[in-house]
Amino acid sequence: MLMFSVVLAGCSGGSEDAKEGGEGKKELKVWLMGDTTDETLIKEYEEKNPGVKVSVQLIPWGSAHDKLLTAVASKSGPDVVQMGTTWIPEFAQAGALLDLTPYLEQYPSLKQENYFDGAIQTMSYDDKVVSIPWYVETRVLFYRTDILAEVGYPEGPKTWDEMKDAGEKLAARGNGNYAITIDAKDMNYLSMFAWQNGSDMIDENRKPHFNEPEFMGAMEYLKSFYDTGMTPLASDLDLFAAFKDGQFPMFISGPWMIQGVKDKAPEIEGKWATTTLPAKENNASFLGGANMSVFNTTKNAEEAVKFISFMSEKESQLTNYDVAKNLPAVKSAWEDQRFEDPIFATFGKQLENAKPVPFIKEWDAISKEAIAAFEKITVGGADIKTEMDLLNQKATEMLNKK
């Protein structure tokens, strides 16, 4: 009997909520991803806009893409949606995202000049502004100051050659000690080295350049990490433990690792630091994070844009950093004293020189192929030139399809 009343309660639940939104208040539906559980900003917005009720639905990151697909299919998405930056071209090309260009004058906080160069590249598709950066992340070099000092680089390596030199010395320690991890399953990781070696991978005319010296050189450089024992071919060492124990005195990763190292390796406090990536032609890093877009099926476009504008204000960006440790996308927020800590300041510096991956909808598919090709070279021992010719051919086919 108890079961039955629960069932009935559950069935009626949905309709009541629908009414609630209608009582003179406009309802704004917002989809946010997984770990954004803090509602401070939402409450602040509702206080400032008493006529609006924001209903947030949290979506687990792992299934967010599936959920967004079905929303597009049924043409019944939310008003505002948080997007992983690499998904934007796909959804924009499908026409799922509202063109925000007409609103830029009215809401100056959305204008491009407020954001880092790399982030600006994620805002527009086909000359339309379709999304606004909400928070950013970039990758920097984390290193053990004490161990790197022993091999002569107390400030961390500054160039590719220094990195290689330091790496080989570190690998020479033996006993299961290595120099650095390589995230070979992550195309963002491989892309950074390609950019640093002067490769754009895919140019504005949608032509791939994987079998050219710049890209192949980057692959060769990374492969040499394996060949010289700087990096193990397969490793499932826990990064935090290995950083603490010195097996991996260096790794390249994003801001979320800071708190991780502090929590899980408190013993090495003061013995580690972050620095911008070592340079070849340049020291470009990857720029990721999340943007906010308006679904084009919205009936509350005005309210939706206003909400995004609020989220992009300097104060909101700082609050978001306080509650969720998400780095501000708005440049001016970085002047705040919160970012004076050198470990964080590095990220601000690196953001000046960070780019998103090529902004085309085929990128996910191409990067899967590129990762597979790199795996064939490293694990399978295949020839770089052969694999890269093949990769370039596949990429050309994919890009020519439409």
């Binding site: 893409h65 599936d66 697909l69 597009v72 299919a73 043409k75 796909e90 959804f91 090309q93 499908a94 026409g95 799922a96 399953k185 071919l233 397969a234 490793s235 499932d236 060492l237 826990d238 909808k361 996910d364 598919a365 899967k368 597979a372 795996e375 064939k376 694990v379 399978g380």
Partner: protein, 299 residues
Amino acid sequence: MQNFIKRFNHYKYPYMFIAPALVLLLTFSIIPIIVALVISFTDIDLAGLANYSNIEGVGFDNFINVFKDPVFLKSMFNTMFYVIIGVPLVVMLAMGAALLLNYGTGLLFKTFRVVYYMPSITNIVAVAVVWGYLYNSHYGLFNHILSWFGVPAQQWLTDPALAKLSLILLAVWKSIGLNMIIFLAALQGIPRSYYEAAEIDGASKWKKLLYITVPLLSFATFFVTITTLIGWIQFFEEPLVMTKGGPLNSTMSMALFIYNNGFQLSNFGYAAAGSFVLFIIIIAVTVLQFAVKRKDVEY
């Protein structure tokens, strides 16, 4: 017409009994698969999903391309490997476990029923985390145990040859429990009198097992074999959560290939073509099973 009504009246009950189930299956399985069949002849992607006017027919291109795709061919080979090793293991171990648990009636045996069933009831996410640790080459329990015997550490999930076997081990572990209780339920249906008669004839335990128990389990064995086979041809969750199909696609299964192309890359048409190939393979294998079974019964 009247004849028809009369006929229908005669069969009213069976039709009424199957109607709800059939209507639901028709709506949520048969119609969608027809939709998928149509999709497999188009180039539908996300843009097509958003606006149907973007969809174009491509004839048999998707089917031709999928057979040219080395990853798909590899996934077919891997799937065969999983099925050939995994299915017999599951059926035998599940039957063995059921016989073992059916041996006694004490508290110990009752408790262990739960123990043997536990793996089947675990959330796949939990399984992934726990087995990820067990297989971890540095902190994992398996390598730790191997080290007691002086065996060098193994790369359980990153060695292309070993990874497939590691996934099979996990999947077998996970699917024993469910099939075991089906056998257990079937074992309960064997009348005690059969054994008593055999005992009077002086049959040994082994003979009783071989000539009474196993043949009388044939209904259950058939069921378990078919469902396990169908399940394993659709092998999906284990590689998804443990290896994502790597290293070098050596653990890629057909279902994972379909998922990757459909949901990760939004190539719905291509994925639908792949899934039709999978669908046809499953039907062929099942029909074969039924045919073999029919022969069996006739002897």
